[in-house]
Symmetry: C2
Subunit: 239 residues, 2 copies
Amino acid sequence: MKSEKISELTTNRLSIYLRCLNTLAAAGINTISSQEMAEQFNLNSAQIRKDLGYFGEFGVRGVGYFVADLSEHIIRILGLDRPHRVAIIGAGRLGEALANYKGFGRSNFTVAALFDNDRAKIGARIGPDKILVHDVRKIERLVSEDKIDVAVIAVPARAAQRVLNQVMGAGIKAVLNFAPAPLTARLGVKVKTVDLTTSLESLSYFLAQPLTARVTNAAREKTDFDEPSLRDEFESLIK
Amino acid sequence: MKSEKISELTTNRLSIYLRCLNTLAAAGINTISSQEMAEQFNLNSAQIRKDLGYFGEFGVRGVGYFVADLSEHIIRILGLDRPHRVAIIGAGRLGEALANYKGFGRSNFTVAALFDNDRAKIGARIGPDKILVHDVRKIERLVSEDKIDVAVIAVPARAAQRVLNQVMGAGIKAVLNFAPAPLTARLGVKVKTVDLTTSLESLSYFLAQPLTARVTNAAREKTDFDEPSLRDEFESLIK
DNA sequence: CTCTGTGAAGTCATTCACAGCG
DNA sequence: CGCTGTGAATGACTTCACAGAG
């Protein structure tokens, strides 16, 4: 086990490896080499080994990795062995979809509360799970009462920084932001932004390139996994 | 104007610059230097100049950039001067939220059709905009009739590859994927995956680190903009 | 004198390639 | 013998730093 600084690219990939291992386990496979895994899931075997190498020696030379064992290790590395409680701020369409999303469970995330600042929504119960919408001003109290440690920002861009400030004020250190705004966070608070418009506009650039350039690029890229990618029980968001 | 290979990181940032320029324009600012822009939006001025430098010389030495002018240029570079028509596959919660999302317009994207394979949904009209749900098997015909050039995959992971194949079969070259699955695309087709679980698990890793490491990391990172981030009229997804 | 545009330097990430363990 | 774990090599991206345009 080294103690270098781990890049976010590496932790993103660990999450992906974990998903792959789940798939393998479900298929009844107990042992896998980095090569086999790379082939099956469009990954690079050296990178798998290097990523894992930052955290320990989990493999068996001449054999590969034990699926269940490695899975366990990654769960521990990512801190998924401890439960996380999520607050969703913004009870609009997206907030509602997320609040009713069942896939969080597998990663040990639970949606603990939903907030909005719209009078008409506060006190209402939303979606099939009838989740209560709280007044966003109560966020600080609920965070400590409910042991919430992650916030999801699903409000319009112009409100996003204000909400982030409230959320930081309540002591939350990890935020997933869906608002299209350049946010400033205080030291020690991690904000991950997911941006639909940027993704689409980047696709638009790709379409605007001449066919030859597009194909050349694609060849260099295998399947595009440079950004995150989800888990099996996406169903509730989607079905 | 060079003709090197442009990285996706650069095109993502162009999209962000465009958003910043919109904000500036809305504030009545006509001229801005890369330094000022970097300060205001947590960016790096050298990077702004370098990114723009791949496409031309848009600035005025000793002055900076004309906001409206640069905006125009980026719109053209990203291919946002031509309209794009989007098909959303999967009429679940997320598909519905996306189908009713009004923010696409600004980037010249229009949601042209919504598809599902669920008998109970096909033929129904969904959301406040009453968008008709089509049978996914009709996708090929509708793509050519409706000039659709972008697909959004909002189906469960196990269906994602099948849907991607159908979509590619219909001739679509650009896909935004919300399913948590490692997809394989044919040459010349660009797939961008947005993965909620990976983002959350990566945040979990951050929380699992000792406080000192978290702060050290944060110091290196300003606000986290390594992934995409959205646009102003996110409202319809969210409100 | 200011700010762009850009080679050169520096930093970080991926991939290679192989010693050595099981 | 096969596969891991890992330094060393390569490649990609960012930042520096400054010549030169306006």
